[in-house]
């Protein structure tokens, strides 16, 4: 195998495949990426039995062939190369990379031990890449990280006609985002529970490329239990999580509220960050709403305390509630709107944050729900 490729094209391709490689692979070959040259194109692939990634790049091919090298090392090397054409060639059981005056020799792993990448499931539709990246980030923030509860480490995708809904929860908060997409078939009705980490990395990598992302998902038959995403020359597949008993998140969002507050999202986030400095681990910040505005406090009588007031439009009875400050910041940070609209039923019931504009145009396409913290004497 022997080819010449542009440095950026190679670095991007390797970074895309290496992102899904396991830190501690069960077998060494799974830590590798495969470089395959044929028909004037280089195909870079990575697979760990859960997630597969593949990308194709045009190259100047002198000799076809296939090698398997350490993905992490190759990604670090290509990222550090100078902006010059890169020559890659196999030399016996080694692969040689030359770029300008830099020269690297890497050992290879046996290609025949490498698993075959799964087939892409059937295409289901397309969605704007930038919009998808934003939406996934908004929802994935609420997904759980506790691997002992695999179900909550996922983001649920509901593909219903031309509406795509993303949902996630870690049982203490939940996020829901609705957006439009273009299904291949008008009467599409599919659901999938995708590992949040894979979905975030994929959406984040495909977003800047622009254009649209293809979603591949089969209800039955080939590729069942798997979801695929394509963007440009890139594709990825991921195994789905078992989602049969996923909590009915839609019904957890209260249908009606008795109190609403409107407050600048960035200002509230600043205040919460400051006040939370005195909140010890697992201790909440308390939010007191009244027609006079909002007071954010933290700390206990004998410990350090902090409080800060900020202007806030509030309609409802005077109320004090408490939240984990990080949960609050996660939601505020993902609104993407200047005004945060907080809606309440009761200090002990879930509160919902959504975005709004200064002119009062409410946007409920994104909703972030947060369970309060019950504090002392409550």
């Amino acid at each position: 195998m022997k080819f010449r490729v542009e440095r950026d094209a190679l670095a991007d391709a390797v970074a895309w495949t290496a992102k899904s490689l396991p830190n501690r692979p069960p077998v060494p070959v799974l830590a590798g990426v495969m470089l395959e040259v044929g028909d004037g194109r280089l195909t870079v692939s990575g697979f760990d039995y859960e997630v597969s990634s593949q990308v194709q790049v045009d190259v100047q091919a002198d000799a076809d062939g296939t090698v398997l090298v350490s993905g992490r090392l190759l990604a670090e090397i290509t990222r550090a190369l100078p902006a010059k054409p890169v020559d890659v060639a196999t030399e016996g059981s080694r692969v040689e990379i030359t770029c300008g005056s830099a020269r690297f020799t890497l050992p290879t792993m046996p290609v025949e031990d490498y698993p075959t990448l799964p087939e892409m499931p059937r295409s289901a539709g397309r969605i704007d890449a930038g919009l998808f990246a934003t939406a996934v980030a908004q929802v994935a923030v609420a997904a759980g990280r506790d691997e002992t509860l695999p179900m909550i480490t996922g983001v649920k995708l509901e593909l219903e006609r031309n509406t795509l809904t993303l949902l996630a929860t870690d049982r203490y908060r939940a996020a829901m985002r609705e957006l439009e997409w273009q299904p291949d078939e008008a009467d599409t009705s599919l659901t999938a529970l995708v590992p949040a980490r894979t979905l975030s990395e994929t959406a984040r990598a495909l977003g800047p490329l622009g254009g649209s992302v293809g979603v591949a998902l089969s209800a039955a038959g080939a590729g069942e239990g798997m979801i695929g995403f394509t963007g440009g020359e890139r594709r990825t597949t991921s195994r789905l999580l078992e989602g049969e008993n996923y909590p009915p998140l839609r019904s957890i969002f209260p249908p009606e509220f008795v109190a609403h507050a409107r407050v600048p999202a960035a200002a509230l986030a600043e205040v919460v960050k400051r006040v939370a400095l005195v909140a010890e681990r697992n201790n909440p910040v308390r939010l007191s709403f009244s027609t006079d505005g909002l007071v954010v406090e933290a700390g206990a009588t004998e410990d350090a305390r902090a409080s800060e007031a900020l202007e806030c439009e509030y309609s409802g009875d005077e109320m004090t509630t408490a939240f984990n400050p990080q949960y609050l910041l996660d939601g505020l940070g993902q609104l993407g709107k200047p005004i945060a609209r907080l809606s309440f039923v009761d200090p002990m019931k879930p509160a919902v944050i959504s975005g709004s504009t200064e002119d009062g145009e409410d946007d409920t396409s994104y909703k972030y729900l947060i369970m309060p913290v019950r504090f002392a004497n409550q």
């Binding site: 697992n282 201790n283 309060p372 913290v373």
Partner: protein, 424 residues
């Protein structure tokens, strides 16, 4: 125990100047010890047992005696003896399995009385405590008067008896209560502590067990007086620095330890040994469920919540393993503790014979002080409230009143279905 000191009234000791009426000047420490506590609670609750030998303990093949009434002690039965042996010594005794819920209820009542006397109460176990009453003199009278008051209140309000030692130090107070048993009061006047101690055998000293006593005997030291008149250096050479100095100090009645009210518990736990080793997951699951209920009830009673659930599993070959998981938020809910414990157990993926399982809640914080992150879909009146209702029912009707359905046993008469059965 073996001594014949069973006169009624305030007990023995008057003749030699130690006893209920001795001079209590300078005595501020009380050691109160309930008499045959578990057995006495049983007899109180079942008057038909009065006068009969009653033995409380594990009734299974591996059980040991937890408590024996004085009637049973006459036959040589004592606590920590295998139940099998107790049965041989005293076959006519009434053998009862321990009802810890009942004993802790009684213990709380006892400790509550102490708490009304002085805040300086240092419980040593369910049935004994040190009290520093030196500050109660103006309010309640001298230490001996307070001791009489406590004995009277325990007798009248709880229908139980206790023995009280009154002395200037904890060590001597504890010795004195032991000498006053049962149902007695013994005052060791401050200026006669040394005289009192010096007549006693070396084994009376704290920290002197069988082995140390034998060692001291070999040195020709039989009584506390012998110890007192031995050079500390000799004792240190024989017993080591700490123990040698310690017993010499004690032999002169010097015991500087103050009564320290109980420090907060660091964990609450419970464990159970199966009568015969089991591998059946259903049996282990039910045992875990029962343990979770006990731990959670204890946590709620102590007003604490914990974040870490630890299980202990001892296999038939005595290999013992611990596994723990820390929860995102502290809990005192049996349901949550059980689910965590059970997932820890199933993760062991074992089908071995199990001898013992234990469950422990650690990383404690005071409830109420600890904010509680609510969970999505958590009902306003969820498991926690259901379990609090169980606590209240158990308080009134006994621990068998309400419990998880899978812990019901069709043969036990207490398990009849009642109107309140949360969680079913």
């Amino acid at each position: 125990m073996g001594r014949q000191q069973l006169e009624q009234g305030e007990g023995p000791g008057g003749a030699d100047g130690f006893g209920p009426d001795a001079d209590d000047t300078g005595c501020g420490i009380l050691h109160v010890d309930m008499d045959a506590f578990f057995a006495s609670v049983e007899v109180r609750n079942r008057p038909e047992l009065r006068g009969r030998p009653v033995i409380v303990g594990g009734v299974g093949g591996r059980g040991v005696v937890s408590s024996a009434s004085y009637e049973a002690r006459r036959f040589g039965v004592h606590s920590a003896m295998p139940t099998v042996r107790a049965r041989r010594l005293c076959p006519q005794a009434v053998f009862l399995p321990p009802d810890f819920e009942e004993y802790s209820t009684a213990s709380r009542a006892v400790m509550a009385i102490f708490g009304e006397i002085t805040p300086l109460v240092e419980p040593l176990s369910l049935d004994e405590a040190f009290l520093d009453v030196s500050g109660a003199r103006r309010r309640l009278g001298s230490a001996a008067a307070v001791a009489r008051l406590i004995r009277a209140r325990v007798r009248d309000e709880l229908r139980l008896t206790c023995s009280v030692g009154v002395a200037p130090t904890k060590f001597v107070a504890k010795l004195a209560s032991g000498r006053a048993k049962p149902d007695g009061l013994l005052v060791v006047p401050a200026d006669r502590v040394v005289e009192y101690l010096h007549r006693l055998p070396v084994s009376a000293l704290w920290g002197v067990g069988e082995r140390t006593a034998a060692l001291l005997h070999r040195l020709g030291l039989a009584t506390v007086a012998d110890i007192a008149h031995t050079r500390p250096a000799t004792l240190v050479a024989a017993l080591g620095e700490a123990a040698g100095t310690h017993i010499h100090e004690l032999s002169w009645g010097r015991d500087p330890r103050a009564v320290t009210p109980r420090v907060a518990e660091k964990s609450v736990g419970a464990e159970t040994t199966f009568d015969t080793d089991v591998a059946d997951p259903d049996v282990i699951r039910r045992a875990m469920l029962g343990l979770a209920g006990r731990c959670a009830a204890r946590a709620r009673r102590a007003g604490v919540v914990g974040r870490t659930v630890t299980i202990k599993v001892r296999f038939a070959d005595f290999r013992t393993i611990n596994r723990s998981r820390t929860l995102p938020a502290a809990t005192d809910v049996a349901r949550e503790m059980f689910e965590t414990a059970w997932s820890l157990f199933t993760a062991l993926a074992t089908d071995e014979q199990v001898r013992l399982v234990g469950l422990r809640l650690e990383g404690l914080d005071t409830e109420g002080g600890a904010p509680r992150q609510l969970m999505l879909g958590e009902r306003e009146h969820g498991w926690r409230d259901a379990e609090r209702a169980m606590d209240a029912a158990a308080e009134r009707f006994g621990s068998a009143a309400v419990r998880p359905a899978s812990l019901l046993h069709p043969d036990t008469p207490t398990d009849r279905p009642g109107p309140t059965r949360p969680g079913s």
